[in-house]
């Protein structure tokens, strides 16, 4: 590909995501890399792979927006935008009718409410606590000696309605052990963990209006989370084609739109 491209890079606490759009705003490349200790390096790696996939050289980047907790570490970016705005933008592109975006990341959960025009109406993040985040699940999966994928598979087999009594990562870990001792099925316990996240999310929703979309790495990899959210929120949850890339996609769209605005402004000036 030889035309101009636009990149969005979302540097999260666990993973760094990159999306590349062509000059028409179409998604032509993407990549996920582990964030590790060096956010700048992770961003470069994700960008390099996404460009490779798009078949575009680095010189073709006409705009780049970074987002996520490591957004300041991306030297290629010409602008930083928060992940709140970017996730909302990405989700809205896939589902224009969506009014609530639930982004569950490694270290935080964001609830974003949009107006009918797609503008940011309100947002909330978890307080300084891991309850309801990807770290909550990772930590307990580690304690149980299973992978996140195995935890998800177990949960999807559950037919029970187990609910955990605590949102706290530490106390839920203890509760899981107690329930195993009581002889509860590990499938039901696993599903209870996803319900715990869904219930925490339900507390953060100020209004239960309009279609809901889930984004982020946990939504991307855990079908049980979507099932738990639909059950607790009593509504269908739209899962975008690339949930983990929603923030990077939104960032890339913002980069693309900024250039479009610039071109439009330049056109007006030229016309006098």
């Amino acid at each position: 590909m030889t035309g101009a491209v636009y990149a969005g890079i979302d540097v999260g606490s666990s993973a760094t995501k990159c999306v590349v759009l062509d000059e028409n705003g179409l998604l032509v490349g993407h990549h996920v890399a582990a964030s590790g200790f060096d956010y700048g390096e992770a961003a470069e790696r994700a960008l390099e792979h996404a460009l490779l996939r798009a078949g575009s050289p680095r010189e073709s980047i006409a705009g780049c927006v970074s987002t996520g907790y490591g957004r300041q570490s991306v030297s290629t970016a010409d602008r930083q935008v928060t992940e709140i705005t970017c996730h909302a933008r990405g989700a809205r592109e896939w589902y224009p009718q969506v009014r609530q975006v639930i982004d569950i990341g490694g270290q935080d959960t964001k609830i974003i409410r949009l107006t009918s025009e797609g503008r940011l109406a309100e947002y909330r993040m978890n307080a300084k606590c891991a309850a309801g985040t990807g770290t909550f699940l990772e930590s307990i999966a580690l304690k149980l000696g299973v992978t996140m994928q195995e935890l998800d598979e177990l949960a999807m087999k559950s037919r029970g309605d187990t609910v955990m009594n605590s949102y706290c990562t530490v106390f839920t870990g203890t509760e899981v052990i107690e329930r195993v001792k009581e002889g509860q099925a590990c499938e039901d316990i696993s599903m209870g963990l996803f319900r715990s996240i869904a219930m925490r999310v339900s507390e953060m929703l100020s209004a239960r209006t309009g279609p809901v979309s889930a984004t982020g790495g946990v939504a991307a990899h855990c079908r049980a989370l979507i099932r738990a959210l639909e059950e607790v929120l009593e509504t269908e949850v739209f899962l975008p084609p690339m949930p983990q890339h929603a923030g990077a996609y939104g960032a890339a769209l913002i980069a693309w739109e900024s250039k479009a605005e610039e071109r439009s402004a330049a056109g007006h000036v030229a016309q006098g």
Partner: protein, 413 residues
């Protein structure tokens, strides 16, 4: 911090440092002088009575704020928690108790004194919270000094003549108790004089804050939390009046010359709740970089009282201390905030959910949501604490604030 636009410092800051030095050095001397008595008082407590009775007045909440601002609270709080004070109770109280146990005080390095002055008397008003009663009681037990207090009816809507009469009665009893305990007699003329001076300083402070109605705002919340020291610590004295006359003149000059606290001001935000003392500088720089002025706050306005127009000074004291925002019901608070948003042309409001200060946190009963709908104003709630930095996440808060400004930008399009 942005280098493109320079912050124009407030010149009165130098005078403020001198004033505070004089104040604390004198308090230290008073605590050592057997002929002088030191009374501890809450920040919206009956300090005018204490001054009129000849006490030197010390305000421990200022020390709590100082411990927070110097980022040492979280190291001192565990000592108070060990004594049975919950880590989720007032971090001013727990850090001050901890500081006392550790014999630590920023006053030592700042002013070369031995620390907070030992109390001869401790006087509180629970108009702000009941925690002050427990805080004062701790130091009363330790020092052996008497603890006396005023307990007005809380969470009021309209403050009636009956409420004022009741609180006035409490003040009369307080005076009688102090007179008996210390063998002193209150001069009504002196009280009237102190109240008049207190009211004058308070009025000038209000006028200083009101200059922020101009665009750009010449003074921000982050300046306000520093420059409000005299209206608390020196209330009832000529020094406070002189200070605010000069500060008001400086603010008027800044307005005339178009000097803003944030020079390239794009948005104007309201701060509801306590400051986050350990992060005041970082937050100030974040808003500066975002070209956003925190133009008004409930906190700084808490010492901008209704004016004393002569008459019964005790009735004035009863009224202003009962009418304070923190002592009002939700509906009254919401109406006050609405007036402030309009008066200061506010684009968005930030509520600070201070973990250890439920009484001065207004995001726990749905107020931000009601404000958002009633005034059609973007509202953000941030989690933190007045002093205990362990309840604050820098990355989360800064992202929240940046997203809030993105929301304001989107709205402005």
């Amino acid at each position: 911090m942005s280098t493109a636009v320079k912050r124009v410092e407030i010149k009165s800051q130098k005078k403020l440092r001198e004033l505070l030095r004089e104040h604390f050095v004198d308090l230290d001397a008073a605590a050592r002088d057997p002929d002088r008595k030191v009374a501890w008082c809450t920040s919206v407590g009956p300090c005018e009575i204490l001054t009129a009775l000849g006490f030197e007045v010390y305000f421990p909440e200022n020390h709590g704020a100082l411990l927070g601002a110097r980022k040492v609270s979280h190291r001192l709080i565990p000592r108070a928690v060990g004594l049975g004070y919950s880590a989720e109770s007032c971090s001013y109280m727990t850090s001050d108790i901890g500081a006392s146990l550790a014999d630590a005080s920023p006053l030592k390095e700042a002013f070369g004194i031995s620390g907070p002055p030992k109390p001869d008397l401790l006087v509180y008003n629970t108009n702000q919270c009941r925690e002050v009663q427990e805080w004062w009681s701790y130091f009363g037990r330790r020092s052996g000094a008497p603890v006396m207090g005023v307990t007005p009816p809380p969470h009021l809507g309209t403050v009636t003549a009956e409420h004022v009469g009741f609180v006035r009665g409490l003040l009369v009893k307080l005076i009688a108790d102090i007179e008996v305990a210390f063998g002193r007699k209150l001069s009504e003329d002196r009280l009237e004089e102190v109240v008049a001076q207190s009211s004058r300083a308070s009025r000038l402070w209000r006028e200083v804050l009101n200059t922020a109605r101009s665009r750009p705002a010449p003074i921000s919340f982050f300046d306000g939390v520093i420059h409000m020291a005299p209206v608390i610590l020196l209330r009832g004295s000529h020094r406070a009046i002189e200070y605010y006359e000069a500060l008001r003149a400086e603010m008027k000059e800044r307005v005339a010359r178009g000097i803003g606290a944030v020079p390239d001001e794009r948005f104007r935000v309201y701060w509801e709740g306590m400051p986050i003392w350990p992060k005041v500088r970082e937050l100030s720089e974040k808003f500066f970089d975002l070209s956003t002025a925190v133009a008004a706050s409930t906190y700084c306005n808490s010492w901008a009282f209704e004016e004393y127009d002569g008459g019964d000074p005790l009735a004035w004291m009863a009224r202003i201390s009962t009418e304070v925002f923190i002592n009002r019901d939700e509906a009254t608070k919401e109406a006050f905030l609405g007036e402030m948003f309009e008066r200061f042309s506010i684009d968005g409001a930030i509520f600070h959910n201070a973990r250890t200060c439920p009484n001065n946190t207004n995001s726990r009963f749905g107020m931000p949501q009601r404000i958002r709908e009633r005034y059609e104003l973007p509202v953000l709630v941030i989690d933190g604490d007045l002093s205990d930095v362990r309840f604050f996440s820098t990355a989360q808060t800064m992202t929240n604030i940046e997203a809030f400004i993105e929301q304001l930008e989107d709205r402005a399009r």
